[in-house]
């Protein structure tokens, strides 16, 4: 339900002026309820998938390419970690306890929740215009000049300007789109390609990837890419002002000095 005192922030160059004009009197809405709820469900699910995924990898920390791979075949690469299975030669003199039972159950349960949440988010952001307004970059954002400036600013760990605090810059938009429409679909696809039952119904899921072990290896790298995104995302949130950003993503409100906050709130 809309709060009467909240004000929708129009996008574009007028934003900072607008925000400044209402500074003293109002709080402003930054994220819609749908974005906030789906954001935190996704966060929880991603952490569950990450922990359980690591546990599953520990039972066989070797990666292969093609259809098959096992301890008798040459791996593409091995992770230098101990394993929870005696069968795997790791070079460590001990075997970790088997945690695959709950890890697998948690992995698939979290996958179900995050896939359904993701569908809800994707469909509603199409319908509400969130995708078009907040995520699709404008022509100006996509110029090499604009992008290289954004990249340079990020590399210098510069604080976001006032415009950027209220609306994502081109680099952010491209990153979010890449995560939502490339990495997430890819991690779901490669996950399904490892299911012997699913690929019996839709064999192309795995044959297009070059085999079950290729799917597993790609799944691992896409997960690493998602983890990398998470780490950079959290660092950026801290740089921009951890408390104000957290409050905006939890309550939806942003204080008038959102853009210039030093992380201590108001």
């Amino acid at each position: 339900m809309a709060r009467p005192e909240s004000v929708r922030v129009p996008l574009g160059a007028s934003v900072p002026n607008f925000a400044r004009s209402v500074r003293a009197t109002t709080v402003t809405s930054r994220h819609s309820a749908l974005v906030r709820v789906t954001h935190w469900i996704t966060t929880l699910c991603f952490l569950a998938l990450l922990v359980s995924g690591i546990e599953i990898v520990i039972s066989h920390p070797r990666f292969y390419w093609g259809e098959t791979g096992n301890v008798l075949t040459t791996p593409l690469f091995k992770l230098p970690i101990p394993s929870s299975r005696t069968l795997v030669p790791t070079g460590y003199g001990y075997v970790l306890p088997d945690q695959n039972g709950w890890s697998r159950s948690l992995h698939f349960q979290a996958a179900w929740v995050v896939v359904l949440t993701g569908l809800l988010y994707a469909i509603s952001s199409l319908l509400t215009g969130h995708l078009r307004k907040n995520l699709l970059p404008g022509k100006a954002d996509l110029s090499w000049r604009a992008l290289s400036i954004a990249i340079a600013k990020h590399l210098r760990f510069e604080r976001p300007s006032e415009v950027e605090a209220w609306s994502y810059n081109g680099l952010q938009r491209l990153t979010y789109l890449f995560v939502i429409f490339v990495l997430f679909p890819l991690v779901i696809w490669t996950g399904l390609a490892m299911s012997p039952a699913f690929v019996s119904a839709v064999p192309a899921t795995v044959t297009l990837l070059g085999g079950q072990q290729s799917a597993r290896t790609i799944h691992f790298f896409v997960s690493l890419a998602l983890l990398f995104f998470l780490l950079v995302h959290v660092v950026m949130v801290c740089l921009a002002g951890f408390r104000s950003r957290m409050r905006a993503m939890i309550t939806g409100h942003a204080s008038p000095d959102y853009a210039s906050t030093d992380g201590e709130g108001t």
């Binding site: 339900m1 599953i56 990898v57 039972s59 066989h60 070797r62 259809e67 098959t68 791979g69 096992n70 301890v71 008798l72 075949t73 299975r85 005696t86 069968l87 695959n100 039972g101 709950w102 697998r104 159950s105 948690l106 698939f108 349960q109 979290a110 996958a111 179900w112 399904l192 490892m194 299911s195 012997p196 039952a197 699913f198 690929v199 019996s200 119904a201 064999p203 795995v206 044959t207 079950q212 072990q213 597993r216």
Partner: protein
């Protein structure tokens, strides 16, 4: 504001009622069509049920991928096997001539089969992948008799819903629904890669279920029970796996 909150309350109430009714109806339909796995309880019950139900709807008749002979893994992998029991060693010393597969439960003609009798039925072979839940896999040619043929010989009753199968080591037992039990690629396998099935791969007799992960393909199978309910078996969760924390349905 009060009008708004009343309207909101009514809408929420209606939505909650519709949701509860919808969920109740969905559960009822899922039960009728056999979409609820025996290990549907507990914290992970939601995920297990969604996975089993959706895969059952999608894969009731689909066939596991088969491979070319030149794709067979060389050398074939023999995973760790549990310590062999004394009963197994005695049968092994006799060349498995006395190995028996007992079939009982909801069948018209309970019977026991020697390996020779199983081999006298039309044999089938498939080159399929065995994928372990740990992540590794290999491709092998499996030779055996389709489980559906044995179920036909004993006359499985129409109300049968599951087939329980047991290893010679009573610790290992599992079950599958009739969609998997009657599936053309579900074998009682006694051969591998043109030869006898090695003990390391579950010989002399292994249930082979290529649409599920390796742990459902129980080794050293000696008994089958056809049933309409899994309640009386172990803790009623369908197999030894859920009792050890693993899912009953292992299609993913």
């Amino acid at each position: 504001m009060s009008d708004l909150s009343r309207r909101r309350l009514i809408t929420t109430g209606l939505a909650a009622t519709a949701g509860a009714l919808g969920l109740g109806t969905a559960t009822r339909i899922a039960q009728i069509y056999g979409l609820i796995p025996p290990d549907h309880g507990g914290f992970y019950g939601l995920g297990e049920t969604l996975t089993y139900a959706s895969q059952r709807l999608l894969t009731r008749h689909s066939l596991a991928r088969e491979f070319r002979p030149n794709q067979v893994s060389k050398p074939p992998l023999a995973n760790e096997i549990p310590p062999l029991t004394d009963a197994f060693k005695r049968l092994q010393a006799g060349g498995f001539a006395d190995w028996r597969l007992f079939v009982d439960g909801m069948v018209a003609r309970p019977a026991s089969f020697s390996l020779a009798r199983l081999k006298s039925y039309p044999s089938r072979s498939q080159i399929t992948q065995l994928a372990c839940e740990e992540g590794w896999s290999y491709i092998a040619e499996w030779i055996g008799v389709p489980l559906s043929h044995v179920l036909e010989v004993v006359g499985a009753l129409p109300q049968a819903r599951y087939v329980v199968y047991r290893s010679i080591d009573p610790v290992w037992w599992d079950s599958i629904d009739m969609a998997d039990a009657l599936h053309p690629q579900t074998f009682l396998a006694y051969g591998m890669n043109g030869d006898e099935l090695p003990v390391g791969n579950g010989g002399p007799l292994r249930l082979r279920l290529p649409r599920q992960l390796g742990y459902k393909s129980v080794k050293f199978v000696t008994a089958l029970t056809v049933t309409d309910s899994l309640k009386g078996f172990g803790k009623g969760l369908g197999s030894a796996s859920p009792e050890a924390g693993y899912a009953w349905y292992a299609g993913i």
